[in-house]
Symmetry: C2
């Protein structure tokens, strides 16, 4: 239909403020001239928008130093040090990482709590997060204010209710976790939740190894296994928001018993516990115990090396099934799968080419995440920044 | 960015002509008053657009008969009988169905060729289609002209080259099938190809059982098994256009041998040949041989009934894996899977609920296709109509 939206000057200005802030947030500092070109607005409009975002305490401007060129140099626009920050939380089974993340996606402060013994319940996890938010507040610039809390959860998050519906490795089910957090903080600090793999692929699409890529899968193994998917440039969410839960797909009905009650789930072949078991280690999966298997494999331990290769073969098969379904341009492998790719890329590729429809021609690029282990954490920060980027004036 | 597209009156008019034609094409005849409401244009604009589409020979108007109401009755706008038609082709392994499909999606004439013995090669299939197009032309209104040929193919179609990349059950690979067809028809008759399951879900989303549904999977078994997927209202295509090829995903490494060289592919559990083998029939899968298994099952043949139930269990498991990945609102089951659902819905649902993450709460609606066996055929017609609907003037 051809109706043109009513163009109220105030709404346009605020929309453009968000666009300009979003450019600097995603790509870092840039000149006014670059902003003028990217946003296709006039130099004077860009100048006015930058001035307003500076006034709002979000950006800073400086005249570039060094370099002698003809003409007046274009001012450089950058996130303001001491500006607002997101409280980003990566809630994992064995530890909770909390960070203050500034505009531009820079981690200003980080706080990690190990959760020993049984995984935390929702109230315990919420208490950890509230404590960590205070610790972070003390570490960042005194004037900086948090804009919100974004939490990455290893489970399904309902996009309707915002609850954690099913987090098998935390043993949570139908937990109104977002509401618990919201009850404990002032209303000025909005809470958002997302699935860990969904947030990881979001962050990688924004600033990591999926930046230029509109059909990408982020397959992640920690204790559990999940996928975050971007198809045709847009996140795949599903009807309730539960898409990407590939970890409990059965790939061998006579495979190992899974804690979910079935046998031969993907998780029992490529999850961290599978790696440890194959390496002959009767240990719980932790950052350290998993890292040790990879270190030993690189140091020539035959059992560790063979364990990684066995996981690599199963990983190749898992990727093949996802490629048959999604036909992505690229697959990012995160968590312990990044280690598997590093040590045994050939084994992964061989299994993938063997199983994928159309063979090696159909195989996508395989890469580790560009943001390392921080993809989910930085994706959680994006949740917290979303309102500010939509309307930098209104969300103050 | 806030640039408003330059609103050339001619471009707007043609855009609106396409929108109006699209409404009648999708939903059938309706009054001018309904069109005014749906398109949010003035009555006089609607009147002018309808007049132009009538002039172009695409629509007809009539004053509704019967009913006595106050005021002047609103004219009814409908597809014009004898107007242009799409040549739609459903190329299957055992038969090629060709149809003349009018605006509104009505099948005006249909022609079926059985392909006995080995599946047709691309040149043979192209010759069949060209012949069928002539047969159809003789059957429709003499003044009617074809707008293009849309072909549904049981394999992957490259969205970059338009070639059939891999159709395992036809034994085609890298076939420039679209170009072969284009060489044999006048340039005024454009050729478009699509994957059968992709086209099926497109047609169901437009007029069938997925009309009101933005997250839907159409899982189809004929000789092969494939899925057409709509996620967040948009077709899932993948980087090359190969998405949805779930038939050769391995679900049991010690399962039956598959013609693709692997063991335990989805197709070996829920494809038509699997059903016949389980029913103890040493026959090739044809429309008749498969229909007979279902008829016998309904008539109390224990082996046929048990075969359908075994397929139903595997089908439930297959759906569970797709639900874990996509979290759809609805799953349509087409081809022989519609028969499995009809005879053994309880077995499908039991296996689905057993295997899906989150159990029965997460299970989607299961339905047969609303367009019966014609989903792919009617989806192919949409390919042929696409240009006309985009610009009813320019594509003449």
């Amino acid at each position: 239909v051809t109706r043109v939206p009513v163009a109220r000057p105030d709404a346009i200005r605020r929309h453009n403020l968000g666009l300009l802030l979003g450019q600097v947030h995603r790509d870092g500092e840039m000149t006014r001239a670059e902003l003028t070109q990217r946003l296709r607005l006039s130099r004077s409009t860009i100048g006015a928008l930058v001035a307003e975002l500076t006034e709002l305490g979000l950006l800073d401007e400086r005249v570039p130093s060094g370099g002698v060129r003809a003409g007046r140099p274009s001012h450089v626009v950058a996130p303001r040090p001491g500006g607002p920050y997101a409280v980003a939380v990566d809630l994992d089974i064995t530890h909770i990482t909390t960070a203050a993340v500034g505009i531009g996606g820079h981690i200003l402060a980080r706080h990690v709590v190990e959760t020993t013994g049984t995984p935390p319940g929702p109230r315990e996890a919420a208490a950890h997060i509230i404590d960590a938010a205070s610790v972070l507040a003390a570490q960042v610039d005194g004037a900086a204010r948090p804009v919100g809390i974004g939490v990455s959860v290893p489970g399904t998050v309902s996009r309707r209710s915002g609850s954690v519906e099913f987090a098998p490795n935390l043993n949570w089910r139908h937990e109104t976790f977002g509401a618990m957090l919201a009850d404990a903080v002032p209303p000025s600090l909005p809470i958002s939740l997302g699935n860990d793999a969904d947030l990881a692929v979001l962050a990688e699409h924004l600033r990591g190894n999926a930046r230029d890529c509109d059909d990408v899968i982020y397959l992640m193994a920690r204790i559990g296994v999940g996928a975050g998917i971007i198809a045709n440039g847009r996140p795949l969410r599903g009807y309730e928001g539960f898409a990407g839960e590939v970890g409990h797909n059965v790939v061998d009905p006579s495979g190992p018993h899974c804690h979910c009650g079935k046998r031969g789930c993907v998780e029992t072949f490529i999850g961290e516990q599978a790696l440890l078991t194959l390496a002959g280690r009767d240990e719980a999966a932790t950052t350290e115990s998993v890292a040790k298997v990879f270190a030993d494999a690189f140091n020539g331990d035959p059992l560790a090396a063979s364990a990684v290769r066995t996981v690599a073969d199963a990983l190749g098969r898992t990727i093949a099934s996802l490629v048959n379904i999604f036909d992505p341009e690229r697959v990012l492998l995160g968590g312990s799968l990044a280690g598997v790719l590093e040590f045994a890329r050939d084994d992964v590729v061989r299994a993938l080419n063997r199983d994928v429809l159309g063979g090696s021609e159909s195989a996508p690029q395989l890469m580790p995440p560009g943001l390392g282990d921080d993809s989910s954490l930085l994706g959680a920060a994006e949740l917290a920044f979303a309102d500010l980027l939509l309307d930098p004036v209104g969300s103050r």
